[in-house]
Structures are given as C-alpha cells and as structure tokens.
C-alpha cells in the first residue's frame, strides 16, 4: 500500500515537472504569437498612420482603404497567380524528378544533390542571382533571341489573358513568371525529397501484385502510386502555400514592386508602407489579411493532423 502511494505521488511530481518544462515555451508562444497577433489586429483598427503612435479607434477604415487601393488589388491578383503557378511548378517538377530518380538511375545521389542544393540558399541570394540571369539583355535572352523570342522577363508589364476588373487588369502578369522560375528553382528540391521518400515507402509487393494482374506501368502509377502519394502532396501544397502567401525577400531582392505593381505582393507592400512610409495601421491591416490567407490553408490541416494523432 505504502509503496503504491509513493509511486503515485512521484508520478504526479514528474507530471508537474513536465508541465514546468513546457511552460516557458507556451508562455513565449502565447505572448509573442497570439498576443502580438492580437496587438497587430488592434493596430489595424487604429488611426496610427504617422510616425507618432495613435491608437484611437478607426473601425474598418484601413481595410476599406486597402480593398479600394490599386496597389493592394494588384497584390492580391499577383499573390493568387503566383501561388497557383508556383505550387503547380514545384509539384510537377518535384514529382516528375522523383519518379525519374526512383527508377534505379546511375548517379542517383549526384542528381538528387544537384536538384536539392538551392534549398540551402537564401531567397536573397536566389533573388540577386536570378535578377542577373533574367535581366532582359543577358545571356539567357541572347540565347532565346536566336529563336526569335525576346522576353522582357521581370520588366514586362503585360498581363496575360487579362480583362479589366475594377481598377486592375485581372490575369497572369508576365513578370510574375520570372518570380515563379526563380522560386521553383529554389523549392523544387523540397517536393523532390518528399516524393522520393514517399515512393521509397511504397512496398514493392504492391507494384509486383499489380504487375501480376497485368497492369501496365502507367496504370500502376495512376491507380496505385499517385493515390498513395496523396498525403505527401497535401504536405507539399501546405508548405509551399504558406511560403508563397507570405513571400517577401525573393521579390524584394529580385524585382521590387515592379512597374504598375506587376510583381508586388502583400509582404512587400506591408514592409514598404509600414517601415518606409510609417503607415502602421495600413501595414497592420495588410499583415492581418496575409495571416487570414495563410490560416485558411493551415488551420484545417493542423486540425486534421491533430485528430489523426489522438
């Protein structure tokens, strides 16, 4: 009896220690993530649009201003098309390369290392280098000129398949494509690594069994492998979406907002309006809209993961 009570007591002491271990981090997260988000939300509802803080209540004024603002409307268009094209490019390239590398290629690790190394670089380095590579008068373009193509890349102000929508022309800005090239160059390795791990995790027996049943290679991919990779695709989409929705440094280093804001994004606008223009309330409102855009993807995903774990 006595010993039993003793172990019980000890267990609860340990349990308290565990919570004590975790407490500082929880406190930091509550203050610096949730507390600060709330504070930003509060600033976004204030009149603080000068150097001097002014926390008087402005209601939704800053939000209404943004949604009627040409620059912000352009940002939302760019963010939408950048996200779609970037995620599409990363998934197609990453999955394609993973399938190729999974086919017992000689020098597999050599190739894998080449496709993965940009992941070790910063977006600033990528931006600086691709700005040089895609400069309208440089080598890539000299090469393309021999085929009669003269792309302007990131200085192009055309909007593909555009139609007037309110103040902005709605369509894919050509200049965004150059950002997609640079960012896909950097992030494809991530999708490749994920898919390769996924492909290696599919038991060989599964393919063998399908082959025995007379399935063609193409059918095996369509009916067995791709469905098995679905959770990985979900993870890749989540990781890439949260990168693309908040992207700032790559574009800051590569093109800036661009003429007519063809390469502007909310992250860049937030930085410039807050820290260069001292429009803190506008900046805070942009930040809250960015957070909501990310949360739409992330919260259901995290919620599902949590349910799957417990």
């Amino acid at each position: 009896m006595a010993t039993k009570q003793k172990t019980k007591q000890k267990f609860s002491k340990d349990q308290w220690l565990a919570i004590g271990f975790l407490a500082p981090s929880i406190l930091l997260i509550l203050v610096f993530v949730y507390g600060f988000i709330s504070w930003t939300g509060y600033v976004s509802l204030s009149n603080w649009n000068t150097i001097v803080p002014d926390f008087s209540f402005a209601g939704l004024k800053n939000y209404l201003y943004l949604f009627s603002d040409f620059r912000f409307q352009s940002d939302l268009r760019n963010m939408l098309f950048f996200t779609i094209l970037f995620i599409g490019a990363v998934i197609i390239l990453g999955l394609g390369l993973a399938i190729l590398l999974d086919k017992k290629i000689k020098g597999e690790s050599f190739f894998r290392n080449i496709f993965l190394f940009p992941m070790a670089l910063s977006f600033v380095v990528t931006g600086v280098v691709w700005q040089w590579l895609l400069n309208p008068s440089t080598g890539v373009n000299n090469f393309l000129k021999t085929f009669g193509i003269e792309p302007l890349w990131y200085t192009d102000t055309n909007i593909l398949a555009g139609f007037q929508w309110g103040q902005i022309e709605f369509g894919v800005p050509v200049a965004i494509l150059s950002i997609v090239v640079a960012s896909a160059w950097q992030m494809t390795g991530f999708a490749l690594a994920m898919y390769l791990a996924g492909l290696r995790g599919i038991p060989e027996e599964l393919r063998e069994a399908a082959r025995m049943d007379g399935a063609s290679e193409l059918q095996i991919y369509r009916k067995i492998i791709l469905p098995q990779l679905r959770p990985i695709t979900a993870s890749v989409v989540i990781m890439m979406a949260h990168i693309s929705l908040k992207i700032f440094d790559l574009i800051y280093a590569m093109t800036g907002p661009g003429a007519n804001f063809v390469t502007d994004v909310p992250g860049l606008y937030m930085f410039e309006t807050t820290f260069r223009g001292n429009y803190y309330a506008h900046g805070a409102a942009i930040a809250i809209i960015m957070l909501l855009a990310v949360a739409i993807f992330i919260v259901p995903y995290l919620w599902n993961n949590r349910r799957a774990d417990s």
Binding site: K10, K13, D14, Q15, L17, A18, F21, L22, I26, I29, V33, F36, I37, T40, V43, I105, F111, N113, F115, L116, F117, M119, A120, L121, S122, V124, V125, V128, V129, W130, Q131, W132, S137, G139, G189, A193, M194, P231, S235, K246, F248, D249, Y252, A253, P266, G267, M270, F271, F275, Y280, G283, I286, A287, I288, M290, L291, V294, L302, N305, R306
Partner: protein
Amino acid sequence: MTTPSHYFARLLKYFILIVLALFFLMPVYVILVTSLKPLDEISLSQMWALPTSIDFSSYVQAFEELGPNFLNSFYLAIPATLLSALLGAMNGYVLSKWKFKGSETLFTVILFGMFIPYQSILIPLIQFLDTIGLYNSILGLIFVHVVYGLPITTLMFRNFYANIPDEMLESARIDGAGFLGIFRHIILPLSITGFVVVAIWQFTNIWNEFLFAVTITQSDQQPVMVALQNLSGSQIVQWNVQMAGAFIAALPTLLVYMILGKYFVRGLLAGSVKG
C-alpha cells in the same frame, strides 16, 4: 530484355535528367564566371563567356564590404541555433513522452506559430524590442529567432523522440528514474542525431532569414543577407562584386549542405509536419 523501346526510354530518362541538372546548375556557373572576371570584362551580353584571366579582386572587395556582417551572421546564428535546439528538445521530450490531457492541443497551438507570416507580429515585436532596449542589436535578433524557432524545433524533436520506444522509458522508471533522470540518462544520449538535424535546419534558416534582419537591425548590426541586398541595391551595379558577395554569403549553408547533406534532407522531411 532490352528491346529498342526500352533502350530509348532509358536514353530519354537520362537526357531529361541531364538537361534539368544543367538548368539547376546554370546560376552556379554564372555566379562563378562573373565573380572571377575583372570589371571591364563584365557586360550583360558576355555573361556566359569564361573570364580571359582569373581575377579575385571582386572577392576582395566583396569581403571588405560584407566581412563584418558575415561575422554578425555567425554571432547570430550559432547561439540562436543552440538555444532554440535546447528548448525544442525539452518541449519535444514532454510532448512525446509525457503527454497529458490537452497536450496535443497545446502542441497544435505551438505549431501554428510555424506558419504565421511574420509580418503579422512585426509591429508589436519592434515596439517590444525597443522597450527592452534590444532593438537594433544582434542580441535582439537572437531572442527573436529563439522564440519563433520554438514551433519548428519542438515539432522536429517531438517527431524524433516519438521513435524512441516507450518500453525503454518504462524500464528506466521501474529502476527509479524520474522525469529529469530519464531525460539526462536516456533521452539526451540518444539525441545526437536529432540535435544535428535540428541544428542544421535552424542554422540554415537563421543564416538565410531576411525580414527580421532587415527590420530589426541597421548598418553595423546587420547580418550578411541584408548587407548583400544593400550591395545589390546600390546605385552603381558592379555585377562581379555582387556575384562574389552572393557566393560568400551562401558559402556557409552550402558547405553545411555538402558536408552534412544526409541530415539536411532529414531536416527537410522532419520539418514538413507529417514527416
């Protein structure tokens, strides 16, 4: 059974891989070729040509300009990496081995911090750092990276510790080891790989981070990425110096990747929530 079509398919596979590999390496070639040229050989139309003579002067100039910031990045990344890894290990231990009612929810609450756009906390963060006197200091940046590194390091250690069998802990508990004893004598010795993976991941992220660095620090306190951006944003564009600067700024993380590539990839996979 090598029929002609099999042979063709093999050829096509290697052809695609080689073309894409060349595309992925193209920037490296251009960085190296451009940075080794003297300024008078730099012109946009000649950027593919090899230099007629190798000239390291752009590296000398880039290092003169970036050197102090390069050191700043080390002063920032090393302590921030170590501290956030340590906190992550503690959290990961609790959240994988000492689960309690509501701990899964707490973990999700922590994890959300990994995905937030940092713009959404930046204004109060700067006000806060200013109030406690850490604005425009490397110490302030260290603090920021430790705090906002918590979600990812916690996630990585939690996934890592989940692979340590519970039976091991059970038997230690029967031998009389408690929460701290198990951590010190069982968990920590088994954590070396975990620490390597998390440290590589954090070092790379902190070294490469830009938004915090550019908003929290100025001039002589800036890490190398901000200095590189300033170098390329200046009025006179010296492409050879810029490319040399980009190479210097990228070198530490590239070396980490080349030497510890296996752990780097593990970090990538571990940081993708499901792992």
